[in-house]
């Protein structure tokens, strides 16, 4: 008998394995990307406190100064200055602010529209679903940049237009993903129970179904951040983005375009900033996806 009971001590390993797995996940925590993203967010939020100079006013005598580590560099301008003598570091910091605001507003508007339409179309079905999903198809079939160019030429260049364009660009993916989840969730027993117990439709949608979609939405949002930043910077680069002299990263790269031979850092610095933030966001998003939803790992 004693031998048999001793066999029961097999129970602990699973727990230990679970702890070990948990620790493994934590060990894989992408520290450097999180650090970069934190710097990005802090720079964006506290730009006026952190920037050593005025990002929009330059000093004519200090034009095209190289970064501090190059010959002729100056500790006054750590990342050098641009063709108008504006401090690159300050402009990159303020650029983070622009990107941060654009991302927040765009995801707020586009995400909300997409989620609501996705919830409604998935839950009600019928012609409403057909209509919304065909709208999604149409939007996904029209290249965003083209749409942006017409809108900007017809209505002028402004911050509002940019946000509208980007919101239009991202809502379809939110709608489509939300709908997919809702289609699964609405067949669940607890939804039927809620219906039977007399819960109103809005209550079912927002209290019972929406929480089930949140994980997917968090993952999707992190992955959309990179897309929004790239789109915004591309539009700014093409001269259809946030109007100058506001230091958007894309337009800063455009500023340095014709000066690569004389002052390569004007284009390089903001580009590095875009790349680091997008890269970190993608790595962080992938990690988050693995943490929150192992089912999606296959989709890589």
């Amino acid at each position: 008998m004693a031998e048999i009971t001793s066999g029961i001590t097999l129970a602990p390993p699973p727990v230990r394995a679970r702890i070990a797995r948990r620790a493994g996940q934590l060990r894989r925590l992408p520290l450097i990307p999180i650090l970069i993203l934190s710097i990005f967010v802090v720079a964006g939020l506290a730009a006026p406190l952190l920037a050593p100079h005025n990002p929009e006013r330059g000093e004519v005598r200090a034009r095209n100064q190289p970064p501090v580590w190059l010959e002729g560099g100056n500790t006054k301008y750590l990342l050098g200055t641009d063709h108008l003598g504006r401090d690159m570091l300050s402009r990159v910091i303020y650029g983070a602010r622009i990107s941060l605001v654009v991302v927040a507003v765009t995801l707020g508007i586009g995400g909300t529209i997409g989620v609501v339409l996705g919830l409604v179309s998935g839950y009600y079905g019928g012609w409403l679903e057909e209509l919304i999903m065909r709208l999604v198809d149409i939007k996904l079939a029209i290249p965003t940049i083209l749409l942006a160019l017409v809108l900007v030429l017809a209505l002028g260049q402004s911050f509002l237009i940019i946000v509208v364009i980007l919101a239009i660009a991202i809502w379809p993916r939110f709608a489509r993903n939300t709908r997919g989840e809702v289609l699964q969730l609405k067949t669940m027993d607890y939804i039927a129970l809620a219906k039977v117990s007399g819960a109103s439709t809005p209550r079912i949608l927002f209290k019972h179904i929406f929480p089930g979609v949140v994980n997917t939405l968090i993952i999707l949002s992190t992955l959309e951040v990179g897309i929004v930043i790239l789109l915004e910077s591309t539009l700014s680069f093409l001269g259809a983005g946030v109007p100058p002299p506001t230091p958007a990263w894309g337009s800063m790269v455009a500023d340095g375009r014709d000066r690569m031979a004389v002052a390569w850092w004007i284009s390089t610095m903001p580009g590095v900033a875009i790349m680091l933030v997008v890269l970190s966001m993608n790595i962080f998003g992938d990690w988050l996806r693995d943490m929150l939803d192992p089912r999606l790992r296959q989709l890589e």
Binding site: R134, D137, I138, A141, I142, P143, T144, I145, L146, L147, L149, V150, L151, V152, L153, A154, L155, G226, L230, S233, T234, F237, L238, G239, A240, G250, V253, A254, G256, R257, M260, A261, W264, S267, T268, G271, I274, M275, V278, L279, N282, Q298, E300
Partner: protein
Amino acid sequence: MQRFLIRRIAMAMITLLAVTLIIFVLSRAAGDPRHVYLDDYSTQEDWDRLTLNLGLDRPYYQQYAMFLKDAVMGRFGESIKEGRPSMEIIIERLPATFQLGVAAFLFSVVVGVPLGILSAVKRGTVLDTTGKLVALVGQSAPVFWLGLMLMFLFAVKLGWLPPYGRQEPTSIILPAVALGWFYAAANLRLLRSAMLNVLDSEYVKLARAKGVSGQAVIWKHALRNALIPVLTFAGITLGALVTGSIVVETVFAWPGLGQLSIQALVGNDYPLLQAVIVIFTLMYVAAALLVDIMYAYIDPRIRYA
């Protein structure tokens, strides 16, 4: 298959209609279109003639019908800058854009596919790391910046390749790499994960257990099945290359449709811009349609979905 075809073609038509409607509405929302062509020195007759030509004396839906009819015939009005039909300018520019698109597509396949296979087969080696690096840069560096960096390194610093324009045969290399890199990265990631999935499948294990050689398993059993997602993506790529060309052509002064659209934007040349956009959308929608049909042909599951 027939039902699928009809449905898919109808969808493409509706998309094109939606685009023309958006362009039409915006062209009217932007103000009196006559101001685009005429100025204070134009005579009253000029104004009246244009009013008639554009159908401005008729209701909006009739104006839209006129616009649509003209668009189908390829009449988009004259470019303001150049004073000749927009369509003429577009046809001159088309070959350059096609050339660049094909070159970029080839680059993305030639780099992305082998690297994707090798990094899956030789997991954890130097090749895998190289593949990861290519993928990371391709998916996070903005195309316009990547283009500038390539230009700086290979044209300005090393002097190996021409920095811009389309004069020399080697001129196409840098823009094609800049444009194709993103898609090479996407192909690589797709193929790598598809290969890993397939290599782990029962039928590959069975093939191995039967004693099929390692090479044959990889090339015959695994790759053929792993190529399906890559094929779908190739379709999306083909269309998206069209828009990517806007950015890359602007960076490298490549005289194609993309550069033309930005010139039209900067020069407030609305008739030209709307023509370019309709043509671009047409190419994009046509490419997507073609791929969907091909895909449905290859994979029966799509047809009946």
